[in-house]
C-alpha cells in the first residue's frame, strides 16, 4: 500500500485559536479517503493546512515523499493537488469555458481533458459560454469539480460536495466522483455520511481538532456505536 499524502501530528492556529491540535492521517494512492467529523471539528482547516492556506505551526505534511508544509500554496497546487472548495467556489464573472481554461497549468490541458470532463458532466458542454452567475447550484458544483480536473492533478481535495444539493444531483455527483477515483486519488470531506459511506474505502475521523480514528469504511458502516459516538448520525 503506497501512501500519497501523509499528515503527521499537525497543529494549526487561526489567529490565536488553536484549531488543529494534532491531526495525523494517511491517504492511500488510488481510491477515496473520507475525512469525517462533526461541524467545526476541523475538517476544512485540515484541507487548508494541506494546501498551505493556513500553514501549520507544528507537524509535517508529506506529499509524494516531499515535505510541503513550508511551501507557498500556489507551489503546492502546482505539484498536482487540486482543490474543490465548499460552496461551489467558481468564478462567477467568468464563463464556464473561462472557468475551465483558467485552471490550465500547461497550454492545451483543457483540449486534452475536455472529452473526459464533458462525458462526466454533459451539462457543462451545453452551458460552455454561460457566465458562472447563471448556473444552478448543482451545475456550479459540477463546474467546481471539473475545474480541478483540467490540470493533471495527482490528488483532489473535495470539500463538502453534496452540501445544499438536491438528492437527484447528489446521485449524479456520486457517480462522477466514483469515476474520477479510478484515475486520481481523492480526499473527501463530507458531512453527509450516506454519501461518504458509498464512496470512500478509508476514513479518518476528526474530533475537536484531533484525528481520533482511522480505518476501513466497510467496517465503519457496520459499527453503529462509533458512528453515533463521533458523527452523531446513524
Amino acid at each position: 500500500m503506497e501512501t500519497l499524502l501523509e499528515v503527521r501530528d499537525v497543529h494549526t492556529f487561526i489567529g490565536q485559536y488553536h484549531i488543529l491540535q494534532g491531526v495525523s492521517l494517511k491517504v492511500r494512492k488510488g481510491g477515496i479517503t473520507a475525512l469525517l467529523g462533526r461541524n467545526g471539528a476541523g475538517k476544512t482547516t485540515t484541507l487548508k493546512t494541506i494546501l498551505g492556506l493556513t500553514p501549520p505551526r507544528q507537524g509535517e505534511v508529506i506529499f509524494a515523499d516531499q515535505p510541503i508544509h513550508e511551501m507557498r500554496s500556489f507551489d503546492i497546487a502546482a505539484l498536482g493537488i487540486g482543490f474543490v472548495p465548499e460552496q461551489r467556489a467558481i468564478f462567477r464573472d467568468l464563463s464556464v469555458e473561462e472557468n475551465l481554461k483558467i485552471a490550465e497549468r500547461k497550454r492545451g490541458d483543457l483540449r486534452r481533458k475536455q472529452e473526459m470532463i464533458f462525458s462526466l458532466f454533459p451539462d457543462l458542454q451545453r452551458l460552455i459560454h454561460l457566465p458562472g452567475t447563471h448556473l444552478s447550484g448543482g451545475q456550479q458544483q459540477m463546474l467546481a469539480i471539473a475545474r480541478a480536473l483540467v490540470a493533471d492533478n495527482r490528488l483532489l481535495l473535495i470539500d463538502e460536495p453534496s452540501e445544499g444539493l438536491a438528492p437527484v444531483i447528489i446521485e449524479q455527483l456520486i457517480l462522477a466522483i466514483r469515476q474520477l477515483s479510478a484515475e486520481t486519488t481523492i480526499l473527501l470531506v463530507e458531512q453527509n455520511f450516506i454519501v461518504a459511506g458509498q464512496l470512500a474505502e478509508d476514513y479518518v475521523i476528526i474530533e475537536e481538532g484531533q484525528s481520533v480514528k482511522t480505518g476501513k469504511m466497510a467496517a465503519l458502516v457496520k459499527d453503529e456505536q462509533i458512528i453515533h459516538r463521533y458523527l452523531g448520525a446513524a
Binding site: L51, L53, R72, S73, F74, D75, A77, A78, F83, P85, A89, F91, R92, D93, L94, E97, E98, K101, I102, A103, E104, R105, R111, Q114, F118, Q125, I128, R147, A151
Partner: protein, 363 residues
Amino acid sequence: MNQASISPSKFSSRFKSFFRGNLGGWIVILAMVLLPFITSLISGQSISNLLANESGMAKFVQGLAIEIFILALYALSYDLILGVTGLLSFGHAMFFAVGAYLTGILLKSFGWSLWATLGMVLVAAIIQAILFAVVLPRVQGVTFALVTLGIASVFYIVIQSHEMSAYAGADVGLQGVVAPEFINAADHRMRFYFVTLGLLIGMYLLYKRFVNSPTGRVCIAIRENEKRALMLGYNTFYFKLIALTLASITAALAGCLHALFQPIVSPHTASMGFTIAALLMTLIGGVGTLSGALVGAAIYRLLEYGLKNIFGEQATFLLGVVYVLIVLFLPYGIIGTWKLRALQIRSGWQRLIGLVTGKPKQA
C-alpha cells in the same frame, strides 16, 4: 467537440459580428475623428481656417476634448487595477503626477529630447509600480489603500518642497514647459488632438485585449477571490504586479500628455483629490467595464466645465450632488447598468415594435 477552432468560412461572419458587436464604439470613434470639422462647420469657420490652427470654437472644443482624452487614459488605468484586478489604491494620482512632472522637468530643466523623456517616463512608471507592489504580499484591501496613500502623500510633499522648487515650482506648480515644435498644442492643436485620440484608442484596445487574455482572466479571478486563484496554482503577486505596471505606464503617459498640453503642471495632480477624481470617473462609468472609464471621464470634465460656466464657484457643490445622485441611482455606473439592463431594454423595444406592427415578437 472543439469550440476553440474557427473554420475559414466562419471568419467573415465572425468579422461582421465583431463589427456589429462594437458598432457603438465605431460610431464614437468616427464622431471623435470628425469632431474638429463638425464644430468648425457649425461655428461658421472654414476648413482651411481650421487647418491653419486659427483660434475659434473648433480649437476650443479640441482643447476640451484633449483634456477629456487625457483624463480618460487616467481613468482607464485606474479601472484596470480597481475594476479588473480589485486593488483599491489611494495613491493613483502619483502615477499620473510622476509622468507629468518628469516630462516637464526633463524637457524644461534638462533640455532632453521628447523621446528620451518618454523613455525615462516609462522607466519611472515601472519603478513606481514595483514600489507599490512591494507591499502587496503583506497588506490587502483597505490597508493597501492606506499604504499607497502614504507613498503618494510623500511624493505630494516632496514636489512641493522648498528643495525641489527650482525644478517643480513648489506649490505654484511647474510652469513654462515648452513642448517640442512638432507636437506643440498651441501651434498644432489638431495634430495634438489626433495624437491623443490615437493613443487613447490604442490603449483602450490594448486593455480590452489584456482583459480577455489568460493573464487578464486571472486578474478577474483575483478580484473575485484571490485564494481560489492561489489554489489553482497562480502566484497572484505577479499578476497584480503586471496590472499595476500596465496601469502605471498608462497613467504616466496621461501625465506626460498633460504636461505637454497644459501651460502649468499643478501639484493638485499629485493630490488625494486627483485620485478621488479617478475613482469618481470609474464609478460614474461603471467599475470594471473599461469603456465606462471613458464615458466617466467625459461626463466628469463636461459637467465640471458646464456647471462652472453657469454657476461659478457654487459648481463644486452641485457637482457633488450630481455624483451622489449618479451613485445612488446607477450603482453599477452608466455602462455597468446599461450592460445589466441591455437585455430588458431590448425585449422592451421588441414588445413596443410588436405593439406598433401588431406582430408580437418573442424576446
